[in-house]
Amino acid sequence: METKTVTIRRKALAASEEQAVKLRERFAESGTLVLNLISSPGSGKTTLLESTVGRLADDYRLAVVEGDVATERDADRIRAMGVPAHQVLTSGACHLDARQIETALETTELLPAEILVIENVGNLICPTTYDLGEDFKVALLSVTEGDDKPIKYPAIFSRADVTVITKSDLLPYVPFDLETVKAHIATLNPSGVILVVSSISGEGIDDWCDLLVRRLEAKRRS
C-alpha cells in the first residue's frame, strides 16, 4: 500500500472564507455597510438594533439578519418596525457562517440596503472566528455582565473595531468599573472605538448612529 503525502497549506475554514470574500464583493457592489454584532446573550443586541432602526430607518434603507438557536422572536421585533429581517435558526450551533448569510440573501429581499446588520448568535467565543463578509465586527458588553469580561474573553474584544458598552443607565447600581474596562479594551485593541450607550435613557445612541452613518459615507467614497 502506497502512502501519499501532499502538502496543501490551505486555510481550514477555506470554504467559509471564500464565501465571505464573495459576500464582501457583493456588499461592495450594492454599497452596503455590513456589521457583525457579537455579544453574550442578553447584552442588548436586539434592543440596540431597535434604537438604531428608530433613529435611522426614516433616512436610510436598513436590513437585518438575526442568528439564534431557536425562535423567530428577534426577526419579528425588527419586522414590527417595518425593516426587512431574516431569521437564521442554527438549531444548536453557536455561531453564524458566511454560507448562512448567502442563504439569507437568497431567501429574503434584504438588498439593496444601505446598512445591513448581522446579529450573531449570543456567544463571546465562537462567532469570533467566522468572517461573514462584514465591514467590521461590533462587540457589545452590558454593564450587568461584569467588568472582567474583556480580559476573560479577549479574542472578540481584540478583533472588534467597535465595542459598545450597553445598559449604561444601570451603572449606578452595579459594580462595573468603566475606566478599567476602557483601559482593558484599549490594551487588547489599541485602534478600537469604545462607545457607552443606553437604549433606555438614550445615552450614546446618537454617537452610535453617527458612527454608522460616517462609516457608510466612507465606504461609499472608497
Binding site: E2, T5, A12, P154, P190
Partner: protein
C-alpha cells in the same frame, strides 16, 4: 454524536453526564475534514492516515478540543483512525519602541510592551491551516494488495 453536516455536536462534560454544551471546535473539525477530503480527491483517492494542521495561539481554538472533535467527525467513516497532528504556533509580538520581540504571559492577549507600555505589533498567531495530508492511495476505488 451527530455526523458532519449537522453543525456542532454536543458533548457531555467529564463527570457530569447531564451537562451539554455546543463546541466551537466541532464545527472547525468538520471544516478541516472537508478540506482534507478535497485535498485527497485532488491527488487521487484513498483513506486518510495523517493530517498536519497549524493552530495559532490567537486563533481562539483549543487544540485538545479540536482533536476530540476530529475523532468524532471521522468516526464511522472510511477515514476513522486518521491522526491529527497539531502544530501550535505562537504569535510574534514586537515592540516598535524597543524593537524587540516580547513574550507575553501564558494565555495573555494584552498587546502592550511589558517594558515600555507601547502597543505591540502582532504578527501571526492566528493560523488555522491544514498543512499536510497523508493518505493510502488506492486504484479503481479498491485498496492495493501488497
Amino acid at each position: 454524536m451527530r455526523g458532519p453536516g449537522h453543525g456542532h455536536g454536543r458533548i457531555a462534560a467529564q463527570g457530569d453526564p447531564g451537562y451539554t454544551k455546543p463546541m466551537h471546535e466541532m464545527g472547525i473539525a468538520i471544516e478541516i475534514y472537508r478540506t482534507c477530503r478535497e485535498a485527497v480527491q485532488e491527488h487521487g483517492e484513498g483513506r486518510l492516515r495523517h493530517v498536519k494542521i497549524a493552530v495559532g495561539e490567537l486563533s481562539a481554538v483549543e487544540p485538545d478540543l479540536l482533536s476530540f472533535g476530529w475523532e468524532a467527525v471521522i468516526a464511522d467513516t472510511d477515514d476513522e483512525g486518521a491522526e491529527l497532528e497539531v502544530e501550535f504556533r505562537r504569535a510574534d509580538q514586537r515592540c516598535p519602541n524597543c524593537g524587540e520581540s516580547k513574550d507575553r504571559s501564558e494565555g495573555s492577549w494584552f498587546r502592550i510592551c511589558p517594558d515600555c507600555g507601547a502597543p505591540l505589533e502582532v504578527r501571526g498567531g492566528d493560523e488555522l491551516d491544514v498543512l499536510e495530508v497523508s493518505f493510502e492511495a488506492v486504484e479503481n476505488g479498491a485498496p492495493e494488495e501488497q
